[in-house]
């Protein structure tokens, strides 16, 4: 585990793991969505709207899983000062926020025909919206500290503190009366019929593999950006004409 904190070793691992995750994730996701959207029969009460399940549930899982990843990376950064931990957390944030937004949007579209409303301020929906705002805050904070050379500890602390929202989202439908239904999948028990459950689980695995591939891609991009920046800075220092320095640095920042 610690061995892969070394960026060189990580890059050689990521160079073959990234396409593997992306391709297998795309195959599973397309297969599960085709199965879920075209093949399974409609639900006894919800009818065709049940098909949103196959996008909504994996997105919710990744939205919450993404923040858990940010929190774990942040803890690793603060405790062991892994050079890759901060990069991993930054790489997770954007796809995590995208899936949280997809979860909220598909839930809203499902809620209109099922509940009779697009949105209510119940415990589950509100805590999930808070997660979206936490992501936005984290991305802004991490971007600012990376760009302006601030302490990377600040977004790490934010990532750990924000993790308190994850158990709250998970338990919100159990602790409080909410319009959102209680969990259908609990340890060893499923209230979802097998016909829906199998494509749903495949979709969850496929979405997760895709997510992992995107995160690895973004980590490689962030590492490459940092290497370019460091190289340009060195070259600018060695350069005879110091007037070139600010221009070159600005170009990197705009990229």
């Amino acid at each position: 585990m610690h061995g892969y904190a070394n960026p060189t070793r990580f890059l050689s691992l990521a160079s073959w793991l990234t396409p593997l995750l992306l391709v297998s994730g795309a195959v599973l996701t397309i297969g599960a969505l085709a199965w879920g959207l075209l093949v399974v029969s409609p639900d006894r009460l919800m009818g065709e709207t049940v098909r949103i399940l196959f996008i909504h549930v994996p997105s919710a899982w990744l939205g919450m899983g993404g923040w858990s990843g940010i929190a774990i990376s942040s803890a690793a950064l603060l405790i062991w000062k892994h050079p890759l931990a901060a990069i991993a957390a930054r790489a997770i944030a954007v796809p995590g926020m995208v899936f949280t937004a997809i979860c909220l949007a598909t839930g809203s579209i499902w809620g209109r025909p099922t509940w009779g409303t697009w949105w209510v301020w119940d415990g589950r929906l509100t805590s999930m919206l808070v997660l979206l705002f936490l992501y936005a805050g984290y991305i802004a904070l991490a971007q600012a500290s990376a760009r302006d050379g601030g302490s990377i500890k600040i977004p790490a602390i934010f990532g750990i503190v924000g993790a308190i929202n994850i158990p709250i989202i998970n338990r919100s439908v159990v602790w409080w009366n909410s319009l959102h239904q209680p969990p259908s999948l609990t340890a060893g028990k499923s209230a979802i019929d097998g016909e829906f459950l199998v494509p749903l689980l495949i979709a969850v695995i496929g979405f997760s593999l895709l997510f992992g591939g995107v995160v690895l891609m973004r980590m490689r991009t962030l590492i490459a950006e940092m290497q370019v920046e460091a190289r340009l800075r060195r070259r600018a220092l060695a350069d005879d004409g110091p007037q070139n320095q600010p221009i070159q640095r600005r170009r990197v920042r705009d990229a």
Partner: protein, 156 residues
Amino acid sequence: MSTVKAKHQRLVLVVLALVAIVLAGLFAAYALRNQANYFYLPEQMSANPPEVGQAVRLGGMVQAGSLEWLEDGVTVAFVVTGNEEASVPVQYSGILPDLFVEGSGVVAEGSLQTDGTFLASNLLAKHDENYVPRELEGLHANDAAQQAAETVSYSE
């Protein structure tokens, strides 16, 4: 040696911080227990009735056999039950959500009247955690009957 010590110190600090954050979150959630409820259950409403005319939400199950249309043709009356014996009669005039049927969950927005009836201005259907394809609906009915029997014997 000193780096190992610093590493352990950071580990302890982060773990302590995590414990403190989790405790703070649990306390906050505990304090919010009643405020963060989206609706009152019938037993909560009868134990601690809101003021007449105050806007509240009532949630529970539509009691089987209680649903009836009033003579004006647009008002529907039914009884909402919770986990306990208490129940609240509800009246509502308007378009019913598709999933609104007897024996399923409902959240009614409105206010309590002087006669104890809950006058709803909006109805939301509450979906339960069960997802069942149409083909298996009959099977589900058997399951439901079995579940109901178990529940009855449990409550006695």
